[in-house]
């Protein structure tokens, strides 16, 4: 027993957790590691792929790295996995530096966009691979592999080759392989972007539940903001190698830090305004056409001009003027089923996008209709 677990013990440093002990601790929450990214910088020649990334991940947290392609999110994941060297900084797992540790000794699980299943092995052999490498005995391996396949609803496919399975099934096998050791950290590199929408949504839920069951820390990379909002405990938004904001999905969506975050996450109306009056956290603002409205802000030192964010679904349309309202002209109206998507022109210039639920009582607006758009003071967020 002791001989078998040496490998894993070596990987964990002085925290001795052998494969068997962890096998016994199945489904116990709280096995996730804390990760500290400390001033990590990575550049290729003149191109800075990652600039001073500096944040902590709590044990067992589901954190998503969100950003457009080339923003550095995959670079960061590969650095944590050990596939990429860095210029400076350090990565700490459970308080211990890991950058000098070879990837295969870090004991993480990883899921790739291209599945990366070994085409020369069956599903069972693929999932058993990490256990064999860790030196877990055959009975435990067989039992654990069967459990994991069961958990991923793959028991019927155990003997198949990866090439005989659909994309969704293959990715579930890849997830099974990544979690079979109950690793303390699971890295996921855009695991769902090769799948169609419906499949993506169902596997999103599966991964979410899996996270609750096994309790590993999960780092999830995606460029799909919807996916990030649905799945994460916290989201780190990256742009051009910089981490712009790290916060919970609701915070990111409701109170984005910058224009970039506001426009990258969800649909948004960004309106340039002038500050008219300030009463504590309540501001009175004026848009370019001179219409005034009120907004809430946590940002005490907002200057005399600012940009405000109003989410399209927070805007109400009416035929008559109301407090905090702007006259609009409808330029396009789309029926999306449960929602109406209305684009309009604000009086005095500026476009406004409105999403509202479809109701029997209201007729579809027509192009050219002159209406009023209004929103509550709390639905209006002043960007810094």
């Amino acid at each position: 027993m002791a001989g078998i677990s040496t490998q894993r013990e070596a990987r964990r440093g002085d925290k001795i957790i052998s494969g068997d002990q962890r096998a016994a601790a199945t489904a116990a929450a709280g096995i996730g590691s804390s990760i500290s990214i400390s001033h990590v910088r990575k550049s290729y020649g003149n191109f800075v792929a990652l600039d001073d990334a500096n944040f902590d991940i709590a044990p067992g947290e589901f954190i998503t790295l969100l950003g457009p392609s080339g923003s550095g999110k995959t670079t960061l994941l590969n650095i944590i996995a050990g596939f990429q060297n860095i210029d400076k900084g350090e990565v700490l797992v459970d308080g211990k530096p890991v950058l000098h540790v070879a990837p295969h000794r870090r004991g993480f699980g990883m899921v790739f966009q291209s599945y990366a299943l070994f085409p020369n092995m069956t599903v069972t052999q693929n999932v058993a691979f990490p256990m064999r490498m860790a030196g877990v005995d055959r009975e435990t391996t067989d039992r654990r592999v069967a459990e994991t396949l069961e958990m991923m609803r793959l028991s019927d496919h155990a003997a198949k080759m990866p090439s005989q399975m659909s994309g969704g099934q293959q990715q579930r096998v890849a997830i099974a392989r990544a979690i079979v050791m109950r690793p303390r950290v699971v890295l996921m590199d855009e695991p769902l972007s090769a799948l169609d929408r419906r499949l993506r949504e169902s596997i999103q839920i599966e991964i979410r539940e899996l996270h609750r069951t096994i309790g590993s820390t999960i780092l999830f990379v995606t460029h799909d903001q919807g996916e990030a909002l649905t799945m994460s405990d916290r989201i780190a938004v990256l742009d051009a190698g910089k981490i712009i904001q790290i916060a919970s999905p609701t915070e990111i969506y409701r109170h984005p830090a910058t224009r970039f975050v506001a426009s990258f996450v969800g649909e948004s109306n960004l309106i340039d305004v002038e500050l008219v009056q300030r009463r504590g956290t309540r501001l009175t603002l004026k848009n370019r056409a001179g219409f005034t409205f009120e907004a809430g802000s946590r940002n005490e030192d907002a200057g005399s001009t600012a940009t405000v964010l109003v989410r399209p679904e927070r805007i109400a349309m009416s035929d008559t003027p109301a407090p905090n309202s702007v006259p609009i002209t409808v330029t396009s109206a789309l029926f999306l089923g449960e929602l109406l998507r209305v684009e309009c022109e604000m009086e005095g210039g500026g476009k406004l996008l409105i999403r509202c639920t479809d109701t029997q009582s209201r007729a579809m607006p027509n192009i050219g209709d002159k209406l009023y758009a209004s929103w509550g003071a709390d639905d209006c967020w002043v960007l810094s």
């Binding site: 596939f83 990837p103 295969h104 990883m110 291209s114 990366a116 020369n120 069956t122 691979f129 392989r177």
Partner: protein
């Protein structure tokens, strides 16, 4: 206008269908197929006819297998070929990995170092090894200088020098074959294995090796089949005990009395080659001959299913062994520093590249020697051997003969090959694969067999010593090169482009001229160059088909190499290297482009 045309077409339905027949791309396969049928298939069939022409049809074959000299030589040929294949695999794999793992300019340089020698004539590379291993050669000098040897040792004319020479000549084939297999593997597979806790050795053993098995198999068989027909290298580097089968055929060819028996020898060699290729083709797909990907990916996955379908993976004994030895060993090796694998690859790959490049460099240096005999390092430098080469009318006439033969041969090969390649890619003929196989098959036929079969044909038509005849014979081997290169670049041309041109009013000929040909122009240039080089370097067919009036450069080289090793040969070698390097520099963007297109 269109009305008039269509009414004409309606009035002449017969002419219309004839015209349609002409427009069918499969007609483009005809010229090359006919050419090969006359100059390649027919002589080989004639070879069979002569081989069974004894008192009974088996009598010549009985003689082959009853004389110990021949069947012992056959066994020896097999032994040497298998050993060479194994050596190539052993040295070629790390080299392929080295190319795969290096990046940027280093990758280009390493790849060029492997590919460059592949395009230099076997005769010249063998000559370079004779120089390297010779009594006054650099290796002996080095050993004495280091104090390993007291006096120069005889490194040449034994089994060892044959194996070294053949391995050095054939290893690029293996490297390219394995590299094409390695480069197709998803890089994330290695990462996935690492993330699963597998050390570099385990990644290699469990992932890389199984996935590159087809490439290794293809490389092994290509080297083996080429080795079977080897003639130049064993003749120059071997001793009396290293006679290979192909050498007997050329020796027997000097005695005209042995007609029938001689053909039987050739048929035996050809049959062994074809059986090996047939078995290999069955398992790997015949595409392995020209380095193509297997078109039907069904068979391998199906065969794997049978294995995976069993309840447990492998037998109980196998499991026990894997648990007791296999996995612990892999885990133990995982404790090696991760850089160990990288170092091993660098050292072995570097050694192979040194062995490929050093002989060429040394011969180039010797060509500038001041000494009147072959020695390294040269006592001083001069251009005396260059002036001797360029002022010697014998050498110059051989040189110009070779140039003109190669130019004619390249023209024939490119004309037939290009038309055939378009036919292969654009037609929807059922027999396409079979025709492709025919077009490419000259690559695997031992040159000695081909030379012998052509000898009878050329005698019959009184073509021996004819420039056009020799060029046509060289084109047999040039056509496969052209077909493979042009077909690859054609596949990179988007069919939609041609359709777009056609829908906007371009006639088929205009489409060909304005869209297709410009798109494959780089491929055409590369194909012409390689077809030219193939003929320029060709020795074995020329040995059979030339006369006293028609001496090519390789023939002149061959005569001199067998007679005495003088620095003029080094001059010719250096000129050839310059030619190949120049050609590759010109063709490099093309090759890179066609590789991209092939993907």
């Amino acid at each position: 206008m269109t009305m008039a045309q269509s009414s004409v077409a309606m009035r002449h339905p017969a002419r219309r269908s004839y015209w349609n027949l002409l427009k069918n791309p499969s007609i483009l396969l005809l010229p090359a197929t006919l050419f090969l049928a006359v100059i390649y298939v027919w002589p080989l069939l004639d070879l069979f006819r002569l081989s069974v022409g004894g008192p009974t049809w088996t009598s010549h074959f009985e003689r082959v297998f009853s004389i110990p000299l021949y069947w012992q030589s056959l066994v020896r040929t097999m032994e040497i070929s298998i050993t060479v294949s194994a050596l190539c695999l052993f040295f070629g794999y790390p080299t392929a990995l080295l190319i795969h793992r290096s990046q940027g300019i280093v990758k280009v340089m390493v790849a060029t170092a492997v590919v460059l020698p592949y395009f230099i004539a076997i005769l010249i590379r063998t000559y370079a090894w004779m120089v390297l291993l010779g009594r006054n050669g650099p290796l002996n000098k080095l050993a004495i200088w280091l104090g390993i040897l007291d006096q120069p040792a005889e490194l040449l004319f034994n089994r060892g020098s044959v194996l070294i020479g053949m391995t050095a000549v054939l290893v690029p084939l293996m490297v390219l074959s394995i590299y094409s297999s390695v480069s197709r593997i998803d890089g994330n597979l290695t990462r996935a294995a690492l993330a699963s806790g597998a050390g570099p050795i385990a990644v290699f053993w469990r992932v890389l090796l199984p996935l590159t098995f087809p490439g290794m198999g293809a490389g092994f068989l290509l080297v083996f089949v080429s080795g079977l027909g080897f003639f130049i290298t064993p003749t120059l580097l071997g001793g009396p005990g290293d006679q290979m089968f192909a050498m007997h055929i050329t020796q027997q060819a000097d005695f005209l009395t042995s007609e029938g028996f001689l053909q039987a020898l050739a048929v035996v060699l050809l049959m062994i080659t074809l059986v090996v290729v047939g078995i290999a083709g069955h398992f790997l797909g015949f595409e392995f001959i020209w380095g193509g990907e297997k078109l039907s990916g069904v068979t391998p996955s199906a065969s794997k299913t049978d294995r995976g379908g069993r309840p447990a993976s492998g037998s109980a004994v196998g499991n026990l062994f894997a648990d007791a030895v296999g996995w612990p060993l892999l885990r133990l090796l995982g404790k090696l520093p991760p850089s160990a694998g990288t170092w091993l690859v660098c050292v072995m790959g570097g050694f192979v590249i040194l062995a490929l490049i050093a002989p060429i460099v040394i011969v180039s240096i010797i060509s500038f020697s001041k000494a009147s005999f072959l020695t390294f390092p040269p006592p001083g430098f001069s251009l005396r051997w260059y002036s001797k080469f360029f002022s010697d009318s014998d050498w110059m006439s051989a040189f110009t003969t070779s140039l003109s033969v190669a130019a004619i041969s390249a023209a024939i090969a490119v004309a037939f090959g290009t038309s055939a390649a378009i036919g292969i890619v654009r037609s929807s003929l059922k027999a396409k694969t079979a025709i492709m196989l025919l077009l490419v098959s000259p690559i695997i036929v031992p040159p000695v067999v081909l030379g012998l079969s052509l000898y009878s044909l050329f005698l019959y038509f009184d073509l021996i010593g004819s420039r056009i005849g020799l060029a046509a014979a060289h084109a047999i081997g040039g056509i496969p090169l052209v077909v493979v290169i042009i077909a690859a670049s054609l596949q990179g041309v988007d069919r939609k482009l041609e359709q777009a041109a056609a829908i906007h009013g371009a006639s088929p000929l205009t489409v060909l001229r304005k869209v297709t040909l410009p798109a494959i122009a780089p491929g055409l240039a590369a194909a012409s160059f390689f077809a030219f080089l193939h003929s320029f370097d060709e020795l074995v067919l020329s040995l059979f088909l030339s006369s006293a009036h028609l001496k090519t450069l390789p023939l002149r080289l061959w005569a001199d190499v067998n007679y005495q090793l003088n620095p003029v040969l080094a001059v010719v070698s250096t000129l050839e290297v310059v030619l190949v390097v120049g050609g590759i520099l010109i063709a490099r963007p093309v090759l890179a482009g066609s590789r991209k297109a092939a993907r």
